[in-house]
């Protein structure tokens, strides 16, 4: 149930991004409210990744401001990061650890908590949950495989499994479907819809069309910097 009049979760004010003397976008402003699914579109090199990294605070824009609930993200970094889940081109999965260890670390690093919002403290419960999340991304049976011994898609699935437990309202996902098979894509899309319904927002880039999400629900931002 998106509420257009609510405070925007993220708003960008007059963002300008310059890379190697190429102006990627100029004075880009946008408001992202709870319930939004925003797809950033544009051809290769149009600045989608750059925009997403700026929104998540990983890079600084050449000019402009990013706000989290009307506050500059530089001012409330900690709070912002508690509310943010960013997955980039790189998966952030360690090849030397098993799938399960990777997931466990990720959950703990970003603070894991189950759905009825009580904090999990008991290790055993945590364990069960980890396995459940791995099952959700179809990695049951691979818990104890080193991540470097997994296929390209399985490797990314470890990172994606964080989506299934996350309570952060803001999801920023840079090409989350890379190397994921069709069935995987479908369940991710379902997940996004659910997240939006629960009052979160999803900002993503992808070169594939979103199939099972209602097109009316998707806000598109097109970066039309045309190369050459």
């Amino acid at each position: 149930m998106p509420k257009p009049t609510s405070t925007p979760l993220i708003s960008a004010v007059k963002l300008t991004c310059i890379r190697e003397e190429r102006l990627l976008f100029d004075e880009l402003s946008l408001d992202i409210h709870p319930g939004d699914i925003v797809q950033v579109e544009g051809p290769n090199g149009s600045g989608k990744t750059s925009l997403l990294r700026i929104l998540s605070g990983l890079s600084q824009p050449y000019d402009g401001i990013v706000n989290f609930k009307n506050q500059k993200i530089n001012r409330c970094r900690e709070e912002f990061q508690q509310n943010l889940l960013y997955l980039g081109h790189l998966a952030g999965v360690k090849g030397e650890m098993t799938a399960e260890e990777n997931l466990k670390f990720n959950l703990a690093l970003h603070g894991s908590c189950d759905n009825n919002s009580s904090v999990i403290d008991s290790a055993t419960k945590n364990e069960q949950n980890t396995l459940a999340y791995l099952a959700k991304v179809n990695l049951s049976g691979f818990e104890d495989s080193l991540a470097s011994h997994l296929s390209a898609g399985q490797h990314r699935r470890i990172a994606l499994s964080r989506l299934y437990q996350s309570n952060a309202p803001i999801w920023i996902l840079d090409e989350p479907f890379t190397a994921i098979d069709k069935q995987g894509v479908a369940s991710l899309e379902a997940l996004f819809t659910g997240h939006a319904q629960r009052g979160g927002c999803v900002i993503l880039t992808t070169h594939q069309d979103l199939i099972s999400i209602n097109p009316d629900q998707i806000k598109k931002i097109t970066l039309d910097y045309s190369y050459a």
């Binding site: 310059i18 190697e20 003397e21 050449y62």
Partner: protein, 247 residues
Amino acid sequence: MWKFLHPYANPETTYHFTNKLLPWLTALAALFLSIGLVWALLFAPADYQQGDSFRIFYVHVPAASLSMGIYVSMAIAALCSLVWQLKLADASAAAMAPVGAAFTAIALITGAAWGKPMWGTWWIWDARLTSELILLFLYLGVIALHNAFEDKNLAGKAAGILTLVGVINIPIIKYSVDWWNTLHQGSTVSKLGKPSMSLDMLWPFIFCFIGFALLAGVIICLRFRNEILARNSIRPWVRQLVEKQLA
């Protein structure tokens, strides 16, 4: 208290300010250096022990002092840029690094040249000499880091962090002669109130010193302007400036 500095956080204002500053600085530097060097090299008395080779002193000591002084200024600039996000402080630190490295090299070379007649060898592993060499390495590291990043703003921040971490070497260089018994001269010039040097040697030295400091200022100022332009090449005012130059 810092309000008066505010306009200079703007690159354009600062650029025009350096424009006005440069001619004065250059003139002063030329004046002091010519007086100081002529006095020092031609008229000041030769040292009773060291003879004319003592005249290296007038270049060596200013260069050595400036090598440290510039580093400290660089560190202060780095601190400002990291704490208050002053992009211009970054630019000034970037402008200073190679100049500081050059003075360090000069101090090393003149020192070595002086060492041959005085100590009979170009180089000894004396504490002060070594720490001056380390200072050179630090400068080179800062410069290398500046060059390693394509993005000038990032380069400035990275180099700034390194500069601050390296500050620890400065007291070591400064006080090494006091802490260790070394071949190198202890304080002669700066003993407060009572310099252990005759006045007809001290005065030309002071002129040389100020002259070299101003020279450093001029070069840094020139480099600073270039840094500002390079970092703002997209801004309209830089474009206009270039067009004016071309026209």
